[in-house]
Every structure is written in structure tokens, then in C-alpha cells.
Amino acid sequence: MALVLTEEQSMLRDSARGLISDKAPVSHLRALRDAKDATGFSRELWKAFAEMGFSGLLVPENFGGSGLGAVEAGVVMEEIGRTLMPSPFLSTAVLAASALTRGGSDAQKAAHLPKISDGSLLAALAVDEGAKHRPLQTKLQASRSGNGFKLNGAKAFVVDGHTVDLLIVAARTAGSAGERNGLTLFLVDPKSKGLAVERTAMVDSHNAARIEFDNVEVNADSVLGEVDQGGALLEGVLNIGRGAVASEMVGLSEEVFGRTVTYLKERKQFGKLIGEFQALQHRAAELYIDIEITRAAVLKALQTLDGDFANASAAVAVAKARAGTTATRAVQEGVQMHGGMGMTDQFDIGFFMKRARVCQELFGDSNYHADQLARMKSY
């Protein structure tokens, strides 16, 4: 498989870019933020996304989707990264659709996937509990109760958690924090009794929530996959999410870099365009190289997810770690090279810096994935 986009994938990119750059440039996010919009994204735009088939991108064709893969999800995420468009694409079309497709019973799939495809159902994955992403440290307790389970505990950093119709919750049904066995995924109605959702306003003006579970009752049918055996399913879904976020960071990095190079060619200081200063030229060149190499690593991870899913963890760790450090470097150089203007809210560049920080944290930062890679390689 060549490490370039196929013709179909390029067409997908062009249509995503067309829609997003037209309807959701950075000013779209800015407007939602300034209006303190209660939803945090545009439902109308999500409808347009659904009509273009993006919401069902990963949903199998027999459930009304396009049955495409991680590469295609990455293509859309990259365009999202260019304008920082807030949307339920990651939470619903990538994470929830993958979790249901990979782990759902026929009934669960039939109940939810068509609605994800047509844009009428929003869903979110609730994993993290502490300050850092540590899925094996899941403590939220699901104890047997009658024919079902009772959930007790709390989740943080649930992307889009305040607007969704369905939650996919990682819980512990056995074992203790740190163990892979004993994890189970549950489908939970956010309107359930005992469930409290608090929207958390985030630095990047994107959507996230903290959710508390106080004796939330779910029935046995709400288990996604096997009881106690949810670890592998969860890790697989997270890997798809990591690949998607890495793609977003590639788009974000490239956009910031492009804007910075443009600025270098416009801004004058000391009687010269600042792009004439060799020290900045070399730093720009290094950053360009960094981004290109990261782009390749991310595409490699996405192709591995599509071609050899069970063995994709190393490639995904590489991609997410690299994308995180590259995006961090890109926004730091972007702000510094824009000088004082880069510090103003009026310039868009700060939005990219804020989003990059959140993406770095999402599903494991560069340190986390470096550690994971070392574990995989037994050192």
C-alpha cells in the first residue's frame, strides 16, 4: 500500500476541505466561543456533514454508512484541524461508530449506527478519570445488580459529553485499577437517573464534560462486547481515536506553519522581511521537515489500522507521540514568529496553540505514548 492518498481519498479531502473552509473557518469557532454557545458546535453544520456522508464514514454500508476506514477518518480530521471546526465528528463518527461497529451486538448496531449515519444521534466515549489518560487505571465501578449493573464513579474529559444522546462508558466489573482484565464498556443513556453532567469550558473552546455516576442503573443489554473483556475493544477504539487526533494535529500544524511562513514573507523589521533572517529560515525549514515526517508517520499508522488492526499499536503510538511534539513545536514557533501579534486574541494563532494543547492530552500525550512504545519493545 503506497503511503500516499488514493484518488478517492484525495477527492474526499477536497470535498471535506471545501465544506469546512467555506462553512467553518476559524471565525466559526470564534463566534461560538464569543456567544458562549450552549451547544458548542453548529447542529446545522453537522446536518450538512451527515448529508455529505461524513457522519457515517466509518459505519458499515449495511447500516447506512460508507464503510470506510481510519485513513478516511484521518483525511476529514486533518481538514478539521486546519480550521479547528468544533463538531461531534471525533466523538460520534469516529469513536462511537468504531466502538459500536467493532463491539456491538446486531441489535445494538441496528439501534444506533443508522442514526449515527444520518446525523440524528450523537454519542460520546467516557474513559478518563484522572488528570492524565490512563485507561487501565479505570476505577468507575459497575457492580451486578439484579439483571443489570449499577455504575458508581466519575469521568472527566468526555468529549462532547454535554450534548450527546448516548454515552459509551468504560467501567470496571472486576480486578483493580491498573489491570487490563475486568474492564467492560456500557451503553448508557445520559438522561439516566443518578447521572450528572457538567459541561467544562475548555481552553480551546471545544466541548468536554465531567460526568458523575451515582448508582446509575443499566440493564444487561447495555454491555458493549463481553463483560470483563472490554480492555481489548477499548484499546482498539482508542487507537482509532489516537490516529484521528494525530491527523487533526497534522492539519493544525500545517495550517499554523503556512500562516507563519506567509507572515515571514510580509512582516518587516530592521528594514527587511523577517523571512530574510537566516536564523528564522533555518527554524522554518526544520519545522517543515518535522511536519512532513510526522505526516508520513500518521498516514502509516492510519494505513496500519486499516490493514493490520491487531498490530497497529506501535505505529499508532509513534504517530500520536510525533504529532503531539510536532504540533507543540509548530504553535510555539508560530506564536514566537508572529511576535506580539501572535499573543493577541484578534489573531487566530492563539486558537491553534490552545487546541494543540488539548489534542496533546487527548488519548495520551507524547510522554504516554513514548512510554507505551518502550513497553511494547520490552525495555
Partner: protein, 394 residues
């Protein structure tokens, strides 16, 4: 000087007796800083008491001459006072660009009338100053400023625009660089002038930053009339004053990080990341980054101490403040990157009470300006290359 041990004993006793307990805690919010000025309000009674007691001793500006409202301390005494205040965690009673920047410039370049007029008011916190240096098309390239001051009898008439004027919207007076000779070369024809911000023709407009705060303004001058007697130093030689003052500013910014203040970074990180059974941070990579940071921080701290000692010994290079400014600001940015990494999700919240209104991410974003304000890191490296290393064409 007086007997140093006796001075230390007396100072300690006075501080113990006069510094309210509330004023010995670390500052946690903007309101904890008292800036003075015509419209100043104290945020608490202890803040007022502390300020007034220190002002009355001249210790808002301990090393200024007594005749200008200072404490008249010599270098050694001043060091003792700083050490004793640090030991007890006593807050600075008054923060002020008048103290940090204008004061030293007036002491060196001002005439007697100017010193008499302005220094006591700065010391007493009566007038709050701002600095009018940067302009929209002269960021790093300060000397290419365009704001012009035209001669009209005994006055200059000033027209132009400044940017990045810190707290201009709260300031009473401004010290400002203006072009008094448009035909002269870039660094010539600039004058350093003082005027009241309530003068006719002055307007300010706060700039919203990525941190959500607005500590800076755009400041506009539309035919502001200022007596020529308000020029500090010689007309058209204001660049000398500006350079002198910039060095003060750089030394100040390089020391602005929270070096050695508060809890060690590794323990802050352990709060959110956790520790393993051996007590090591449960994120080995982050632990390494923190440790490397702390090594560099301790080294910088030694370098700052050495810089002072070299200056005393007359062995310091005048451009070394640029080296310290560069390193100190880059290091402070690193500190906050680590704090963000350590804080994880908790450090991403922007508004909640839990996060104190997003204090950490806002402080993180604020640090990104450190390597821009007061001369960018690139300008600092250029100064080192040229003035210290004497590299060709630098």
C-alpha cells in the same frame, strides 16, 4: 554602612512587627499586587497598612536617596532587606513601572527639577506610570519608531500610535519615545519625554490577549501638547535613555519566573500524576523533563547570583542582561509547558471555580509573551552575537 549584623537584626525586628500576617503569604491573584496611582484602591486592609508602613520608611524604593522619598540604603543594606523580606515571605508593598524603569532613568538622566517632581510621587505610589516604546511597525526594531513630536514654541506636539503599552488604561503618566528629528538617522532624532495621560488627545484601547487578559493597550496621540521641559536628557538623544532602561527591563524580566518560589515542580506534578511505590513520579518521561528543567533552573539561579557579584566586582559585560533575559524567559516558558503537562485535563479548564478560573492555562499562555516583550529572544541572541562574541555583520 552601618554594622551589618545590627542592621539585619533591626530590620528583621521591624519587619516582624510591621508586616501583617496576610502580607506574608504568596500572591495568588492579580488583586494581590498594589500598583498605586491616582485611582488606586487597596484590595484589603492589610495591603493598605503594609504599603503605608513601608512607604513611611522609604522602603517602597529602599535604595533611592532619602530626599526623593527613598530609604537611602546602600547596596549591602538593600541586600539584607531583600533577604529578610524573602525569608519571611513578605510581599512587595508597591509594584510600579515608575520604580522599576522610570526611576533609575531619572536618577541617571533627569535634571533636578524632574527628579523632585516625579520621584517622590513614585515612591509614595501617588502616580502610576506606563511605558510608551513599541509601535505597530516597530516591534523588535524599536528604533524605527514613527510617533513624531513637532516643535511649537515651548511645546512639542505629539502625534502617533504606541502598542503594547502595559496598563496604559490605568496609568496616570507615560514615559515615551518620540521622534523629534525626522531627518536624522534611525537611532538619532529620538527623545525621551514624560506627559500626563489625561492630556488632551490621548486615548487608550486595551488589547485582548490569548490568555483572556488585557494587560496591554494600543495608545493613540492626536496632537498632544507637552512642554519641552518634559524631555529627559538631551533632545534627540533619547535612545541613550531608552537603552539604559531596556537593560533594566531585561534584567527584571529574566528574573520574573517563579524560581524557587512555591512547591517544587516534581511535587506539583505528583499531585496529578501520582507516584510509584518508590516515590518516583508515575510518568518517567515527565520526571526526566522536570529534573532537567530543575537543573537548568538551579543553574540560572546561580548565574543570576553571579551576575550581581560580577557587576559588583566591575567584571560584568553590559550586554549580559540580554543573555539572562533570553535564558530566563525561555526557561519560564518551559516551566509552564511542564505544568500544563503535569496538570493534564485539570489544566485545560478555562472557567470553572475548581480551576480558579483557568488560572494555570492562562498563566501558561501569558508566558508565551516572555520571549517577545522587552526584546525578542531573537534580538537577544543577536545582541550577544554582536556585542559579546563580536561576530562579523551581527
Amino acid at each position: 554602612m552601618s554594622d551589618p549584623d545590627q542592621f539585619r537584626r533591626e530590620t528583621r525586628a521591624w519587619l516582624e512587627a510591621n508586616c501583617p500576617p496576610e502580607m506574608r503569604k504568596p500572591m495568588t491573584s492579580e488583586g494581590d499586587t498594589y500598583w498605586g496611582g491616582r485611582n488606586a484602591k487597596f484590595s484589603s486592609e492589610p495591603q493598605r497598612v503594609w504599603f503605608e508602613r513601608m512607604r513611611d520608611k522609604g522602603w517602597t524604593v529602599p535604595d533611592w536617596p532619602k530626599e526623593y522619598g527613598g530609604g537611602g540604603l546602600d547596596r549591602a543594606e538593600h541586600k539584607v532587606l531583600r533577604e529578610e523580606m524573602a525569608a519571611m515571605g513578605a510581599r512587595s508593598p508597591l509594584s510600579s513601572f515608575g520604580i522599576w524603569m522610570l526611576g533609575p532613568a531619572l536618577l541617571k538622566y533627569g535634571n533636578e527639577a524632574q527628579k523632585k517632581e516625579h520621584l517622590p510621587d513614585i515612591a509614595a505610589g501617588l502616580i502610576r506610570w506606563c511605558q510608551g516604546y513599541s509601535e505597530p511597525n516597530a516591534g523588535s526594531d524599536l528604533a524605527s519608531l514613527q510617533t513624531r513630536a513637532e516643535s511649537d514654541g515651548d511645546d512639542f506636539v505629539i502625534t502617533g500610535q504606541k502598542i503594547w503599552t502595559s496598563y496604559a488604561n490605568y496609568a496616570d503618566w507615560i514615559f515615551c519615545l518620540v521622534r523629534t528629528d525626522g531627518a536624522a538617522k534611525k537611532h538619532d532624532g529620538i527623545s525621551f519625554i514624560l506627559f500626563d495621560m489625561t492630556s488632551k488627545g490621548v486615548t487608550t484601547k486595551p488589547i485582548l490577549l490569548i490568555s483572556g487578559a488585557s494587560p496591554f493597550c494600543e495608545t493613540f496621540f492626536d496632537g498632544v501638547r507637552v512642554p519641552k521641559s518634559h524631555v529627559v536628557g538631551t533632545v534627540n538623544r533619547g535612545w541613550d535613555v531608552a537603552k539604559y532602561l531596556l537593560q533594566h527591563e531585561r534584567a527584571m524580566i529574566s528574573g520574573m519566573g517563579e524560581r524557587g518560589v512555591g512547591r517544587p515542580l516534581g511535587q506539583v506534578a505528583a499531585d496529578s500524576v501520582g507516584s510509584d511505590e518508590q516515590g518516583r513520579l508515575d510518568d518517567a518521561m515527565l520526571r526526566g523533563q522536570i529534573s532537567s528543567f530543575e537543573i537548568d533552573e538551579a543553574a540560572l539561579s546561580a548565574a543570576a547570583e553571579r551576575a550581581v557579584d560580577l557587576a559588583k566586582a566591575g567584571q560584568s559585560h553590559p550586554a549580559f542582561s540580554s543573555a539572562m533575559k533570553y535564558y530566563g524567559t525561555e526557561l519560564n516558558k518551559r516551566r509552564y509547558e511542564i505544568l500544563m503537562s503535569a496538570g493534564g485535563v485539570d489544566a485545560l479548564e478555562w472557567e470553572s471555580e475548581r480551576s480558579k478560573g483557568g488560572a494555570r492555562p492562562r498563566a501558561w499562555l501569558r508566558t508565551k509573551a516572555n520571549s517577545i516583550e522587552g526584546g525578542t529572544s531573537e534580538v537577544m541572541l543577536g545582541i550577544v552575537a554582536k556585542r559579546i562574541l563580536d561576530l562579523p555583520g551581527a
